[in-house]
């Protein structure tokens, strides 16, 4: 295997591992193509720590060559030349865990560090661990995924009158980031769609992503129209949108940029739907942070959580300065607005920002959770993620290449999906009975999205996943999460389905830091987790008894 060329030292004895929530332990460190394996060699314990290299965000090494100070150590120092030097590697993981390895021998230490650095950020998707992971209880023949536009369409009988399933994108030529099948108005033919696609950034023409059974209104999403500085028009685009609200007086467009940003986008060929050309559509602008700003926010927040100065003012000031909670608030309130338009005002809505692959997905997902009880079960939620994030073309590989600790220059990284999970957690806090899944699921997803044994979050789009054979050669995380034991663990024992919309409160006083994630490696949170686990078991027990 080619990995071997990156591994100069595969085994080191007598390594000390320091890990949060555990006492330091001494043992053997082993490095493979995808993992760091530490086995405790101490009496009476056989702890093994298996760390996916992909999970490593940054490493810091410090070596001490004690021979350099031989003057001081002249008596004891020279006796063992090889162990006279040692090094420490600090490993910062994408799941926010920080580990430390004390490795005897400077050279070994540098070799290990070098291997980790190289192997943890190999670019080639098909060499990643999911392609090698073969658990005994899963088969590659199993169905991959839970949902598809085709199955969604066939289940939603109500759609069939006015909407059709188009396979205009069957070879990904119209829009590379869309799935092969999309749902569009019945009256719009594939030729028109092709023209609309040329008028939308990245070919992301407006498609249906949610149908509200209560009143037949829909959520569409797309990318920005390419009006440019000359205010170009596209008759087909206008036609398509008109077909969406056919029979209704108006629709809303929620633009996830400020109107100023939308204006500026025209200078670079983008733009927005002007009132004059789309007279039945009302645009609402809500500025949502994305890209670099969001990544920097995460970095600042994680830094604040690691601050050990024990000073309340400093903590609150850093928390504020990170802006993370502001972004949570904006995301939830924009999603609330979207749901409000559909559910309360009874109008269809088109959502987009610029590319339509980040904020748009964020708020359409949240709005569906708010309105649609089907999305709130464990299966329903995973299917929603599959439709709205994986099939809708959120570029996971680019967005989640690095997390909060990385020193490398940031490119396309942005924790949009993490922001989504945080928002869902806030919903879950406010409606502890209405969601069918547990906080553990959100934590699991937050880990898996950055480093996983499964192929689910690989690549940037459906097309790319097909090209490397993700669906044939890797296992599906969502299927794995629905195995009986996992399903039990990730279910909410208090779940009581409700048909009603769950409107979150977005007052700052109602939102909280997601301690379970951001502080998950602290003793107190671990303690709370244990307590919650016990409580959970109690509740399950009571539930069984009450039913019996």
């Amino acid at each position: 295997m080619e990995f071997s060329e990156h591994i100069k030292t595969a085994n080191v004895e007598d390594v000390v591992l320091r890990q949060p929530l555990h006492p330091p332990s001494r043992g053997t460190l082993c490095i493979t193509g995808h993992h760091l394996l530490f086995s405790d060699r101490e009496e009476g314990s056989s702890r093994q720590v298996l760390l996916l290299l992909r999970n490593i965000d940054a490493i810091e090494k410090s070596v001490e060559n004690l021979l350099g100070y031989s003057g001081f150590f002249s008596k004891a120092g020279l006796s063992e030349r090889t162990s006279g030097s040692s090094g420490t590697i600090t490993i910062k993981c994408k799941d926010l865990q920080v580990l430390q390895l004390d490795i005897p021998g400077m050279e070994q230490c540098l070799n290990i560090a070098h291997s980790i650095e190289t192997l943890s950020c190999l670019d080639s998707v098909s060499e990643m661990y999911p392609f090698f992971y073969r658990p005994a209880d899963l088969s590659l023949q199993d169905q991959w995924g839970l949902s598809s536009p085709e199955s969604y369409y066939s289940q939603m009988k109500e759609l069939h009158g006015r909407w059709r399933l188009s396979s205009v994108n069957r070879d990904y030529s119209v829009c590379p980031s869309y799935p092969p099948a999309v749902i569009v108005p019945n009256s719009i033919d594939d030729d028109t769609l092709r023209k609309v696609a040329k008028f939308r950034q990245g070919g992301r023409f407006p498609v249906l992503c949610y149908y509200h059974r209560k009143n037949g209104m829909v959520i569409m999403r797309s990318s920005q129209p390419l009006t440019g500085a000359n205010r170009k028009r596209c008759k087909e685009d206008e036609l398509l949108l008109q077909a969406v609200i056919d029979g209704s007086d108006k629709g809303y467009i929620i633009d996830t940029r400020s109107s100023q940003q939308a204006q500026q986008a025209r200078m670079t060929g983008g733009g927005f739907e002007s009132k004059s050309c789309y007279s039945h559509w009302k645009r609402l602008h809500r500025q949502m942070e994305r890209g670099k700003a969001l990544q920097e926010s995460l970095i600042k927040l994680v830094e604040a959580c690691g601050d050990e100065s024990n000073n309340m003012d400093r903590w609150l000031s850093k928390l504020e300065n990170s802006k993370w909670l502001s972004y949570v608030q904006t995301a939830l309130s924009t999603a609330g607005l979207l749901a409000e338009c559909v559910e309360r005002d009874g109008h269809s809505v088109l959502v987009h920002g610029s590319e339509g692959t980040d904020s748009s997905l964020l708020i359409s997902t949240l709005a569906q959770l708010i309105m649609d009880p089907c999305c709130r079960t464990l299966d329903g939620f995973l299917a929603l993620l599959e439709r709205e994030w994986l099939q809708a073309g959120h570029p996971f590989q680019q967005r989640c290449a690095h997390s909060a600790y990385s020193h490398t220059r940031l490119q396309q990284e942005s924790p949009v999906f993490l922001l989504l999970l945080d928002c869902v957690w806030q919903l879950w806090r406010q409606f502890p009975l209405a969601l069918g899944f547990s906080e553990a699921l959100l934590l699991r997803l937050a880990t898996e999205v950055y480093a996983s044994d499964y192929g689910t979050f690989l690549c940037n789009s459906d097309q790319e996943r097909c090209a490397v054979g993700v669906k044939d050669k890797t296992h599906c995380l969502f299927q794995a999460l629905l195995r009986p034991r996992e399903k039990d663990y990730y279910s909410n024992p208090l779940y009581e389905p409700t048909e009603l919309a769950i409107w979150p409160s977005v007052h700052p006083q109602s939102l909280q830091l997601w301690r379970g994630f951001f502080l998950r490696w602290t003793q107190q949170i671990r303690h709370l987790e244990e307590a919650q686990e016990e409580i959970r078991n109690m509740v399950i027990e009571w539930g069984k008894l009450a039913l019996s």
Partner: protein, 648 residues
Amino acid sequence: ETKKRMPESTKEHRVEQVRLLDRFSSKSTNGTLYLTATHLIFVESSSNNSTSAGQEIWVSASGGDCSAGSAGCPLVIQCRNFRMVQFVVQRERDCHDIYSSLLRLLRPVSYEDLYAFSYNPKQNDQQREEGWQLIDLGAEFERMGVPCDQWQLTDVNRDYKVCETYPRDLYVPITASKPIIVGSSKFRSKGRFPVLTYFYQEKKAAVCRCSQPLSGFSARCLEDESLLQAISKANHNSRFVYVMDTRPKLNALANRAAGKGYENEDNYSNIRFQFVGIENIHVMRASLQKLLEVIGSRPLSMSDYLVGLESSGWLRHIKAVVDAAIFLTKAVTVEGVSVLVHCSDGWDRTAQVCSLGSLLMDPYYRTIKGFMVLIEKDWISFGHKFADRCDQLDGDPKEVSPIFTQFLECVWQLTEQFPQAFEFSEWFLLQIHEHVHSCQYGNFLGNNQRQREELQLRERTHSLWAFLMSEKQNYLNPFYSPAYSEAHPVLEPSTLPYHFKFWRNMYHQFDRSMHPRQSILKTILTLRENSRKQLGVTPVATSDPPAAPPTRVQRSNSNTLPPRPDSLILGAPINHKEVQRHEEDDEQEEVGEEAMESTDTERTVEGSSGTDSRKQSYGELEGTYNSDVAKEEPAVVSLEFGVARMTC
């Protein structure tokens, strides 16, 4: 039916067509306002629900201020339970009448004017007496193992002669003679000499409390030194005692100039002196004021909120108190050293630290009964000045301070860190807070025991503890695990800043739109009880099989005045469901706005055509919409969004 439930005295003052505004949403309700001697009651028109706020209401300076040409005269009322109500009264004259009546009623001159003296829950004298006997501090000291070979009960204060703000029964080291005690009391501010408040049997270490010594720059007192020596000698595990001065060093230094101060380590053998740095009552009052200003403003962005939270300093002060309690706990339980705690007068910070420390050390205080005992001991009997701090009579505003509220919040912060360690839920803390201010029960009236005896409170008023005990099942924490307490008798909380949270259910208890829309508390309690029934387990002796909480009507029938818990309801649109919700705190069965309208499902959709739909407002949509689009494409102002904004 409405009339039936209205107390007779409501005829006193009645104003029709009053609008009640919700401060965090654009909702409003029309109704009639009644003012009685003890309550202000708002009854929504065409509805049979009444709401009332109690004696604790006070009117903010802005109340009654009328703006010209407006559609009515605003009346803003801020309650001590952090409820804020805004009325709009049609006629300016009516508004002023209510305003001035309230001002008069809220500033009673004598204790006899307080609600406790007229509150009559239809109990006979024997029941009342039994209620007062529920908590027995003598028995509590016995539980701790006192008196014992090192500690004894002294009768030196039997007639409140030595210290009039202490209780009659005090526990001191056996080697402390009367002359020593009397001598020491003369050297301590307000005569509050060192006495025992908690005894940690396992290590024979004592928690003692007192006020600051009158040491000035150089004064000393041999009796005081002997008393501290005696406290030290009473603990064979350690050769010294800690003296914890809970003030910041600077404050203690300043006190020296006034002939007060702190212990000089050179004069006392075997003490280790330590400042803790909790701020004084004035800083705490200002801090809460600041906090309330921040969270009361609308709309509040996340940044404003966090910046405001920081600059109010409130959580910093909460953390300081918990830090001090942890210091105390470690000294006693880990080192086995006795600790003497004081501040200036020894009735504010000292009460906070001693009680919170005891709560950390002793699982008993984390039970419902034990918590009552703790408050009775460290706060009521040792003379925390509830009357002054909670402004029961028309007193000095500089004496008012949220010291007890802080204590309750510290306990809440601990319950968040240790969900299984407490027998009671948050609702219990909120109820206690409510009644400390309601003056409906006699427990917290006055400033000290002597005063309470003079007022004959046991004969003339009822005890809160009996009432709370009778509703015990409403206050249970379903996650409480006695096994956990056995395994973790001493709690070791973390005071890293990020473990402290804003206590929304205290400071926004009545702001409906602020709360999570579902509470698991009730669901889980019900689930647990159902499962017990299945098992055939007879509930423990003290708690009867949990009956459904009494409905509003049931309660009202037994009283002339609306009973206290119901007075929590004064706000937001009211329907039957809403009333139930408030009775059970957050244990709502409803789901957000939607459920509120679920009796009238059509409205959700119908709402789209009117301002109704803007009930749930997601931020400043209107503003962005108007300003952003206006520049390029004028005159596209959505009335629906715009109008809603105008009205709020």
